[in-house]
Symmetry: none
Subunit: 205 residues, 4 copies
């Protein structure tokens, strides 16, 4: 009656020197700095390696290509900050605050450069796009959707409202302004919230 044999060693104990998590994190940090400073297509793996104090081969040992490195950085939160959606009880106000926070975050050169680099990487590479969707956008999407559903339960949002479409419009609006580098005034953000909650259709009297 032997218990579990060497089965547990099957996965964790490879031969050879263990891979250095410290090196991996140094690479991601250096990548974030380079991306913020120079953008995606000016990214140089030579510079990243030098800045991280790492051999170039180590980068390729972890990530097969430049795009994968950027993708990994995004999904581990090393590159992009996470924005919470508050719940004050007033769903319109919480959505507006999220919009304001998003725009003020991405208005800074560093965060703006990072997000634009991520968008460029996403636009260039389908695999990166998938990572981005799964690990970044979907988190934001879910957070917004949860807040909206909470608002519906609070009877601030009507039953049957197209909440998914609302989320897409919110994120899309932010994305559009980030890409075109336009800064909407606070009034425009208010107008967006008005639009999404009240619509534009003429009301039958």
């Amino acid at each position: 009656m032997h218990e579990d044999g060497p089965v547990t060693t099957a996965r964790t104990a490879r031969p050879g020197r263990a891979r250095s998590e410290a090196a991996r994190l140094a690479i991601l940090d250096a990548t974030r700095d380079e991306l913020a400073e120079r953008g995606y297509d000016k990214l140089s793996l030579d510079r990243i390696a030098a800045a991280a104090g790492v051999g170039k081969a180590t980068i390729y040992r972890w990530y097969p290509a430049k795009a994968a490195l950027v993708a990994e950085g995004m999904l581990t939160g090393h590159l992009l900050p996470h924005l919470e959606v508050a719940d004050t009880g007033d769903v319109r106000r919480d959505v507006l605050d999220w919009l304001r926070a998003s725009f003020s975050t991405f208005a800074s050169p560093a965060a703006g450069g990072l997000i634009r680099a991520s968008i460029a990487a996403t636009a260039e590479d389908a695999a990166v796009a998938e990572h981005y969707e799964e690990r970044v956008t979907s988190v934001t999407r879910a957070a917004l959707l949860a807040r909206l559903e909470s608002g519906r339960r609070a009877r601030q949002i009507r039953d049957g409202a197209p909440l998914e479409a609302l989320v897409e419009s919110l994120i899309g609006t932010v994305l559009l302004h980030v890409v075109t580098r336009r800064d909407p005034g606070d009034a425009a953000l208010g107008a967006t919230v008005e639009l999404l909650f009240d619509g534009v259709a003429a009301r039958p009297a």
Copy 2:
């Protein structure tokens, strides 16, 4: 590449050649093909020059850098198709049709690759972003806005409605799906139109 007609008059003119517009158009065509096939950051001016039958110096005579070439290509319509906004009298339907046409256009690999390359170029380079906004987005923006104002005059849209915000949401929604390569079903497009016209707010009975 074609021959200019009145070649025989060359004696009276200055020595040298006067054929330039054909080369310029060949460059733009080759750029469009390369962008659609390989994307922005894999764009090679050597390949473009070879494909256009043109010397590299000729490209630099017109465009100071790679980003400027892409920007110029976009604003002359060589890269991106222009989508009309119809006016059937029913503004909801016309907006929905524009959404459908946009998605079906960008779902094709060629047009999708082009628009994603443009987005990457835009995200990389502020000057390209400005060009893009001035010559491409603003055209679409104006066309949509004109249709919406026409709808307001027809009493299908209420006075004081945030039409600019609506336009941003529409374009942003399209942009988001293009970048993430997700294909919304037709039902989702209908939900987006419903959202933008009717809002989500609970109505006072």
Copy 3:
């Protein structure tokens, strides 16, 4: 692209910028310095390119590989000095002087390093060996042979003497000492000349 141009452009007048002879010479000079300092297998094309003020691609435009670069340097005399064989009327003395000059030349670190690097390149690569034989060894061989034949005409060397074998022995002796870095004394050089002229066989009384 049409082909009704003058046929006379066939070989000498290619289109495009002419290849820079100055760059080629700078490459060879830098190669010589690197070889003398570090030897053949520590030779770095990056360093050569930097020292010559030349792009690495330019080196590869001229020479397909490291070995070919070294071979070309040798055959153009950029790497190895040429040693003359004097003709004072006394063939033994002239041969001895050539031996002395050869050893004193190759005893210096710079010339010794160069010749050893050339030997390493020759030993590594058959194509280099062929170049070396055709352009370097054969010149020395011919010069020595000419002097020996002149000595035979002066009745200092017997008819039917194996002059080619003598040349091989002379060059081989020099090569052996260069490779093993041993410095024969002057007496040993004299003994070599005595050997080659008088032989070792016992004489019938």
Copy 4:
């Protein structure tokens, strides 16, 4: 004899696992194969380690550097075959046979590649050159010299003949042909022997 405790470790046996002679021999065999196949400067310790079924650190535990490995391989006879000098009573014939055997051995691709790799290593590295001289060349030198002195005792070689110079010429001639990859005919070997025994000087009648 009481104060210093661990002095007794001066015995041959150290604590810990003994070094594996089998691993050392596998390394030398793999080195020989790699050298014959690819030459000295393409030698890869990674490949040697893999071929020998040995960790790279084991190689460095035995040999401090690539050059030392090659040197050690040469002096243990793992890399180069040893050529005997026969003694049939006829010294001219024995020398000629040694020359023939040397050339026929080094004419084979494997032995030729090995000897050329050794020459390259020797030319590159002074320490290797010293090893080579001490353990390889000097053995051949001594064997040839012994045979020549035996010939002198048999009155086939005159007293006072420069035997060391003869040995240098013989080895140098072989070396020269190995490096330049030229194959002398049998007649040329005969001419070399004639040269070394009879000289080239005109004889006073």
